[in-house]
Amino acid sequence: MNFRDRSLSLILIALAVAACSQTKAFYGSETLKSRPAEARVLLMPPDIELYELTAGGMPDPKADWTATARSHVAAALREELVGKKAKLLVYERPVDSPSKEYTHNQLIKLHEAVGAAILRHKYISSLALPSKGDKFDWGLGRGANVLSQEYDTQYALFIYLRDSYASAGRVAVIVGAALFGVGVPGGRQVGFASLVDLHGGEVVWFNRLESATGDLRSPEPARKAVKELLSDLPL
């Protein structure tokens, strides 16, 4: 399993243990110093994947759903950010420069590692780091500047979303089980978003999403999910 899988598996386990928790956001200790009238935000490649649970419970990757979801999420993001007066730029792989691509990939991988550390040590209380206390001071370091220069933006937004929800057969099973008090995991959305200040690399905002319903295939629920994820986004 790679890092993301581990971190997401930890979320799933944590969810099984914790009560249905609300969205809970963290703000970087260096809160945004100024709120420019129109912040430019670089949207990093959203890591989104959708599955369908068949009656036997096996997750089935749906290319068409995922493609649809990506466009719905992107559209919802644009709307949210416009509402917040931010300008959205989309990250593109620098296909003509392998060394640039390598540098960018290292940043993306570093962010994954940082995201996983935040999920572990801030959202799972038994794994809290006592020396950290209430501080929230993770970041990517000054290396993040290369993105800021490349795209002339101050902020980058990273999004991870996973959604697995029931096909018709599975819904019947869930209803029956719920009725008899045997909670079977049904449709679930798991995700997080982080906003990084590219000048110093600080993660200035981080939010984990966990809700039991939501359907990214259609525009309105996608908008709702994104809205929930980006609630309190300080832009």
């Binding site: 991988k109 550390a117 780091l129 370091g141």
Partner: protein
């Protein structure tokens, strides 16, 4: 299901064993052999003979104190230990370096390169030191330094490793000063 918990990789499954305690910035004992001045506060956890201190999370950066490995023991416990390199009490520093490199490789480090193996004091006894760079299991660049000595046929190591970008440099100075502060007990 074999449980594998190592200082260099996150556990595959939550085992509830990695609770962290606070290390304050005052002289602290490492096992029975020596004390150090931590310089800052750290969060500490333990596994077998290794204490791991971190500020931001062990994958991002951590100091690992290996306290007295004996002849025949592996460096990172868990998983299939039979195929892992074992410490031998007559090892030269070159062989110990090989032991560390091969142990790291066995748990997922890729392309481990070592730099400048040299003699170095461990407190006030002779020891050795080298630096290294490698790539994590997922392809992220990491960096590290290792200092160690053999005393009474046991291996003592201090390994500081972290992501090459940001997290390794973040506390390297603290670790260097911590190494300078090593004070061997009862001599």
């Amino acid at each position: 299901m074999k449980r594998r918990v190592t200082p260099f990789a996150l556990p595959l499954f939550l085992c509830g064993c990695a609770a962290y305690s606070l290390v304050e910035a005052k002289r602290t004992a490492i096992g029975d052999l020596y004390t150090v001045d931590p310089q800052i506060s750290w969060s500490s956890t333990s596994q077998g003979k290794t204490d791991t201190w971190t500020v931001d999370g062990p994958f991002l950066q951590a100091v690992h104190f290996v306290k007295g490995l004996e002849d025949g023991e592996v460096l990172f416990k868990g998983g299939d230990e039979e195929k892992r390199p074992k410490f031998k009490k007559h090892m030269t520093p070159s062989e110990i370096m090989e032991f560390v490199v091969d142990s790291l490789s066995a748990i997922g480090a890729q392309d481990v390169q070592t730099v400048n193996l040299r003699p170095e004091r461990f407190g006030d006894v002779p020891g050795f030191r080298f630096e290294m760079i490698f790539t994590s299991n997922e392809g992220l660049e990491k960096q590290g330094l290792v200092i160690g000595t053999i005393m009474k046929e046991q291996l003592h190591l201090i390994i500081y490793a972290g992501t090459r970008a940001h997290y390794y440099p973040k506390h390297k100075e603290h670790v260097e000063r911590m190494i300078q502060s090593i004070s061997l007990k009862g001599k």
